[in-house]
């Protein structure tokens, strides 16, 4: 077979190198990420000499070439395609990066915020309570000592993560974009430097200082408190510049030059270009929303309530005090605050629906406190941590906000002051508390109900994989399975590991476990997991189970020497497998006839993670019978 010709034909049939994003190979297949799958001529590909099969799985185009030849075709392939060799992880990442821009933006936002959630959820909740207490104390409704040390300390603790949120975002986002996260943190620190005017004071005090860029436009010396998008964009620039520099700067000066230059470039760009751009956009939005809410019959308010949360995501909300203040001065009431409040509470309602509906402890533990803090007016945890991640709750939250805002407008509800939104803002509506409760109640209810019925379903964490394997009937006996038991991956006689006629296994070098003298020639997955390795010779398979256990199933002794003869693999490396799914078939008689013992050790290769591993007392096991039990260390 002519490897070069084979590679050239593959490249031609998949639409040329312009259509190729990255390439990797496993034991038998070329795994390619393609820009536009419609340009791939699959039938011609399948007819290419040397190609044994073509299919698409998990965003990759996989071309089966065969053991021993795939690497040679691959070498030729990357040589003529001019792509650099990618590891399989990179191919997977590239595959995950596909999808439309919107999906990618949402995914990026999620990736940035998910690690931050623990830091802001509890703080958000307490902050909501503290703001309400503070507000009530200021109005003499309750009597607490706000200057007392306890109040002060709790106050500082609860809002610390929010005051410096850009730093957390800078760290996390830069990490997501592949840069040095500490540089990302520094960049964000620069953007909220105490020497800059705090962004939250602009709406009441105006811009204190600005300087001119070549006389073209002015840059305000204002920090980026409360901002999300500019920080993420700054982090993207930082990471991009940093990665480029790492490649071109000589190693001796890399440590010194790269961080300095990438910080300087990204900091300056953000401050002089992205920042002003955002100020312009913000002012535009501000003008737009002010105009919007003047549209009569509640229509303007309906739209505003719907887009309010989106403007929070964009980071414009810190300018809204301007509107509150303006309206209070003009009318004595602010008609803006009920709209904002309805939108916030609605996001809380959507988040609460997720919290109650989800059966996953992990989702619940984030969604519950997030929805509570959202009801109290601190929306970030709910919006970024829950609603946007699942997209639909955010949309339904926005619809709830729209409904609430519309009602507020129709009932002509205004707040007597500004400062808090959410439940406690009822105190701003003491002239019409019932109306206010109707507004936020219906906002939350609409969002909750919509999200409950249409907005959220527990998903498997793993993306649904298109069938890449020979799908055989999976037959799993009905019984209770638990995580601390290893179920027999094949049936036969149970043999103690020490009696395996091979020192490496018998002495437990590979880990502890048991062996089975197989009665039938098929190995199945004992539990859900992932194939972490399968040998080219198909005589052994390594699994990483979802419960963290690493299992090695090695069919026969020294069978590596058979070079695949007598074995058929049904899965390939990286495949997700379900309990009962066939992994390897083998010809028992053939292997024995070649003089190899067929005994099959089943080894827990991460034995060190367990305190004790016990073998079943039965001498025979059927498939998925209890074989080993472990005690976790």
């Amino acid at each position: 077979m002519d490897y070069r010709q084979c590679a050239a034909e593959i490249l031609r049939e998949l639409g040329g190198k312009e259509n190729l994003i990255s390439a990797a190979h496993c034991a038998t297949r070329l795994r390619l990420v393609i820009a536009d799958n419609s340009k791939v001529n699959k039938s011609n590909l399948e007819n290419t000499d040397g190609v044994k099969g073509v299919f698409e799985a998990s965003g990759q185009l996989q071309i089966i070439i065969g053991t021993g030849t795939v690497n040679k075709v691959y070498d030729e392939f990357i040589a003529i395609a001019g792509v650099s060799a990618a590891s399989k992880d990179e191919v997977k990442q590239a595959a995950a990066a596909k999808g439309n821009v919107f999906q990618r933006v949402i995914k990026t936002l999620g990736d940035v915020f998910v690690p931050i959630i623990p830091a802001i959820v509890a703080g958000g909740l307490i902050m909501g309570i503290m703001e309400a207490l503070n507000f009530m104390a200021n109005r003499g409704i309750i009597s607490i000592n706000q200057s007392g040390y306890l109040f002060q300390i709790i106050n500082m603790l609860s809002n610390a993560a929010f005051t410096f949120l850009p730093i957390l975002i800078g760290y996390s986002a830069t990490k997501v974009f592949g840069g040095n996260p500490y540089l990302g943190a520094v960049l964000a620190m620069f953007l909220i430097h105490p020497d800059l005017q705090n962004a939250y004071t602009v709406s009441t005090e105006g811009v204190a200082q600005s300087f001119s860029i070549f006389g073209l436009y002015n840059v305000n010396m204002v920090g980026y408190q409360g901002h999300v998008i500019p920080i993420i964009m700054a982090s993207l620039i930082l990471a991009t510049v940093e990665k480029k520099l790492h490649k071109i700067v000589p190693e001796i000066i890399d440590l010194f030059v790269t961080p300095l230059v990438s910080l300087l470039v990204s900091g300056l760009l953000t401050f002089t270009f992205i920042g002003p751009l955002f100020v312009a956009i913000e002012n535009g939005v501000l003008w737009f929303v002010q105009w919007l809410i003047t549209i009569p019959f509640g229509i303007g308010s309906f739209i505003m309530g719907g887009i309010y949360s989106t403007t929070v995501v964009a980071g414009v909300h810190h300018m809204y005090t301007v509107i509150d203040m303006g309206q209070l001065a003009q009318y004595g009431y602010t008609y803006w605050l009920p709209i904002a409040s309805a939108a916030n509470v609605a996001q809380g309602g959507a988040c609460l629906a997720v919290a109650i509906k989800s059966k996953k402890a992990k989702v619940k533990s984030v969604a519950f406190p997030s929805s509570l803090s959202c009801m109290l007016g601190i929306t970030e945890p709910a919006i970024f941590g829950v609603n946007i991640r699942y997209v639909k709750p955010f949309i339904f939250g926005s619809i709830g906000g729209a409904v609430g805002a519309c009602l507020a407008s129709v009932m002509h509800l205004g707040a007597s002051a500004t400062g808090v939104t959410g439940l406690f803002a009822v105190l701003l509506h003491l002239h019409a508390p019932i109306k206010y409760i109707i507004v936020i109640g219906s906002a939350a209810a609409v969002a909750f109900v919509l999200t409950w019925f249409f907005g959220y379903k527990d998903k498997e964490d793993a993306p649904a994989e298109s069938k890449s394997t020979v799908s055989k009937e999976i037959d799993v006996p009905e019984k209770e399975y638990n995580d601390d038991t290893v179920y027999a991956p094949l049936e036969g006689k149970v043999v103690a590991l020490a009696d395996v006629p091979d020192a490496t296994f018998a002495e437990g070098v590979l880990g502890l476990g048991a062996a089975i003298e197989p009665a039938a020639g098929e190995v199945i997955a004992p539990a859900d997991g992932e194939v972490s390795s399968i040998f080219d010779t198909h005589h052994a398979v390594g699994l990483t189970l979802d419960n963290g256990m690493e299992l090695l199933i090695h069919v026969g002794i020294n069978t590596v020497a058979l070079n695949g003869e007598g074995f058929t693999a049904h899965v390939s490396e990286g495949d997700k497998v379900k309990r009962g799914q066939p992994l390897i078939s083998f010809d028992k008689d053939f292997i024995t006839s070649k003089g190899y013992p067929i005994i099959t050790p089943v080894i827990i290769s991460n034995t060190d993670d367990y305190k004790e591993i016990k073998t079943t007392e039965s001498t025979e096991v059927k498939r998925l019978d209890e074989l080993l039990t472990v005690e976790r260390g």
């Binding site: 590979l510 040998f535 080219d536």
Partner: protein, 85 residues
């Protein structure tokens, strides 16, 4: 940090048994030992990670040893590779 590269001579590559022996050997040292081949890396103490690198005969593995006993560890690991792989 000590590094060395080794080209696998064993015709079946790093399969289960040598991987097990390798992991066992690597656990003897305090130093962190990392294997690298074609952009994939694995902790030398992790059997499953080593195996999933799929090292074949003729492949070159880069071994990095870092830690208090790196001199000794690197020397012994290199000897191990020469003897077993």
């Amino acid at each position: 940090m000590k590094t060395f590269a080794y080209t696998i001579k064993d015709e079946v590559g790093i399969h289960a048994r040598p991987a097990g022996l390798l992991a066992k050997k690597a656990k003897e040292f305090e130093s962190v030992i990392t294997l690298e081949k074609g952009g994939k890396t694995a902790a030398a103490t992790k059997l499953m990670a080593i195996m999933s690198m799929g090292v074949k005969c003729g492949d070159t593995v880069n071994v990095t040893v870092e830690g208090a006993d790196e001199e000794k560890a690197a020397a012994e690991m290199e000897a191990f590779f020469n003897e077993n792989l």
